[in-house]
Symmetry: C2
Subunit: 444 residues, 2 copies
């Protein structure tokens, strides 16, 4: 979609050691595309490439590198002066993001060479996953006492320091936010009008300690290109822009899908195998215990199976269909909770709906499996038994798939932790209890 | 976060029939908040509320209503003239979105009363899920032959018709896009400079038939507040802005999680039970057949189970752990494919990594379960058998969890269709084959 040089060509140039030609082509690339080239290089080649690039181009590319390419390690591997040059070219929020992944001693070593480290140091104090951690302190402000003409003049003077801006913030003498100007309204309003008469209310602001997911939610809900971050005393601290939040949404989506699949949310997608093992083994161990419970249920009923061994063949189909129906209800409910679209006081209705849907589906598959069982020649009682166990297990699964995440949310636990793997072992246990317990009663 | 009236208060007013007071308070609400109030009302009350509101306020709120609240039904229930008044207040892309959900006869009935329906009619021609379906035709343009001062004058004249804009597009006499101006650069550049000298290259554009997911990806990748939509002959057709894309990302995330959970991607989260049954039953039926295969495997080995009934208790634990490990590998791989972060030619490495991770985890849980089995007093051969079956099944599961979605992507099928429920039945079959097949060989 861009008319730029092919990334593969740049890779080849670095690998062939033709760094001068690489730098020429790199200038024509979008930062995100250059970032991908750097990410695809091995550590040594990446370091050579970054050393060859002018600091402003390195900075733009490092800011766009995916988390798992570890821009901070490249920065730390440079000599201190060069690292400081790059840091000075970075937007303060990007600088803080990259430095934040280094240990404090390394941070200090590089910051000591930076001309004015105060902004980055201030940002490093905020938790990475809050509005304070996302914001840039580079905002364009005008005083609430000026006219549109004076505001335009003030903006001309500030514009060089601020990369992109979509709103101008209006502050009082104490730096407190009193309103904002869409750039558009400043362009179209008569020059002699006071800013106060043109500005819009700053109704929507966030505090620096607000979680990044909430910041993303507010910006998407109110269609904001940027949102001001405001201290408790009303002082304007910075702004979060839509592109900061894009990354948050992408990361949260990854987390939600991984958690649903029973993987720790902090596993990096491209993690090497050792760290993937460390991330997943604890979950498998927990599930081993719950799966052990399912096995124990079967063990209790070993005499029933001994007497009617076809039950062993019916176990997986009843447990499996319960798992499927439970996972369906869970996926819908977890997503509704994440979007906040379950109205207050409607939790019981949601659980009721999921149970009803599962009951209907359970009846249909229960009849189907019951009829097929009749053809196995084990008598009508087994067919009835299978029908009851299947319908019951699918119903219980649908109810649990909705109830468990809603309960977790109520008691303050992230509902996404109720992953499909837990539901599956739960429905194993319920299915075996129903099938074998009923069989014990009516067949023995 | 806003200083607006409480939504609950507005609900009460509508329900008490105090529509005049409701309208007063509705004016103070953000459109998204008013949309939630309307969505929470029943159909009849919502119609009364929309009829009472001025068309511009109704329009803003209807544009923000969640998909499942069906703004189009409210619009269709109004008398034609009032519906047309609201349509005229809507942005053209929002108007097309809402109208697009009505049947053509209804669309025509309302559009016949609209003053200038041509823009909306044009947008209705594009597929809803493409750049053309997302874009607004309201763009601010300047000719490439003017100066910055003339451009500012031109923008002043156009600004009233265009709600928000972040970039000004520079076009030639034929309406072909030649570049863009960040609003900022126009504000800060000397007035006598030609626009050609100030503008930036329009490197990144999308065609009207590009899928909405790709539009979202491009905008996030290059941090764009808006992207121009350009026809094959270079003519500027419209623009897509970041807030259009927020909704796309949210909808795609919902789809991905639902598909992963084995639910049709087009099931609305708040769907009533009948449509949820229709959406899920086909999946359950397909899974019934695969689960039937797992049962058939067990049936084949009924003699083995009869001889060593403890195998029936080991079945769920081996199948279940395989399902868990497979779901883990699947979640990571599906997400990597969705983000496009698997480099070309690296598919085998990804499958290899997932298999290795599963092999290591399989060894650990295999040893644990093998040792526990020894304590059941069925002899050392059963312990060894369980160890081999568990390790083997977890390994196969990890490999399949990575291989299947990559294969689907290769043959042009959406990899997200490889849901956790399929992996679970697959690992059931593999686990039973391993456990019972090996048992048949070494125990009988």
């Amino acid at each position: 979609m861009t008319k730029a040089p092919r990334p593969e060509r740049l890779l080849e140039l670095v690998e062939a050691g033709q760094l001068q030609r690489f730098v020429e082509l790199a200038r024509e690339l979008e930062p995100a595309d250059l970032a991908d080239v750097l990410a695809a290089l091995d550590d040594e080649a990446r370091l050579l490439a970054v050393q060859a690039l002018p600091p402003d181009i390195s900075a733009d590319a490092l800011a766009e590198m995916p988390e798992e390419a570890h821009a901070e390690e490249t920065l730390a591997a440079l000599d201190t002066e060069q690292a400081a040059d790059i840091l000075e070219e970075l937007e303060d929020d990007d600088a803080a993001d990259i430095l934040g992944d280094l240990d404090p001693a390394e941070q200090q070593r590089i910051l000591a060479e930076v001309e004015d480290p105060s902004e980055v140091e201030e940002l490093l104090r905020y938790d990475e996953e809050t509005a304070g951690g996302l914001m840039t302190t580079h905002v364009v402000t005008v005083l609430d006492t000026v006219t549109a003409a004076e505001a335009l003049q003030g903006i001309r003077e500030q514009a060089d320091e601020v990369e992109d801006f979509y709103q101008i913030f209006v502050v009082d003498q104490l730096g407190r936010l009193v309103g904002f100007l869409p750039l558009k309204s400043l362009v179209v309003s008569p020059l002699e009008r006071p800013v106060r008469a043109v500005m819009e209310d700053a109704d929507i602001v966030v505090a620096p300690d607000v979680d990044q997911e909430e910041v993303a939610r507010v910006m998407a809900r109110y269609n904001l290109p940027s949102v001001p971050v405001v201290a408790g005393d009303g002082r304007l601290l910075g702004r979060v822009t839509f592109d900061d939040v894009d990354d948050v949404v992408e990361a949260e989506t990854t987390e939600d899908l991984l958690k649903f699949g029973g993987v720790s949310a902090d596993e990096e997608l491209g993690a090497e195998w050792r760290s993937a093992v460390r991330s997943r083994l604890p979950w498998l161990t927990v599930n081993l215990l719950t799966a052990g419970l399912a096995s124990a249920v079967v063990l209790v009923f070993r005499d029933v199976i001994q007497a009617t061994v076809v039950l062993a063949a019916l176990m997986p189909i009843i447990a499996g269909m319960g798992g499927n129906a439970g996972t369906q209800a869970l996926a819908v409910t977890v997503r509704r909770l994440a979007l906040g679209t379950i109205p207050r006081g409607q939790s019981l209705r949601v659980i009721g709906k999921e149970t009803l849907v599962a009951a209907v589906n359970g009846l249909v598959v229960g009849v189907a499996v019951g009829v097929v069982t009749l053809t196995l020649g084990e008598g009508p009682r087994l067919g009835l038994l299978v029908f009851v166990a299947m319908t019951g297990n699918v119903l219980i699964a649908g109810c649990a798939g909705a109830f468990i995440p809603i309960l977790l949310q109520r008691i303050g636990v992230d509902p996404a932790i109720a992953s499909s793997v837990f539901v599956t072992t739960f429905t194993d246990i319920a299915g075996f209890l129903l099938l074998l317990g009923l069989a014990g009663m009516i067949l023995l």
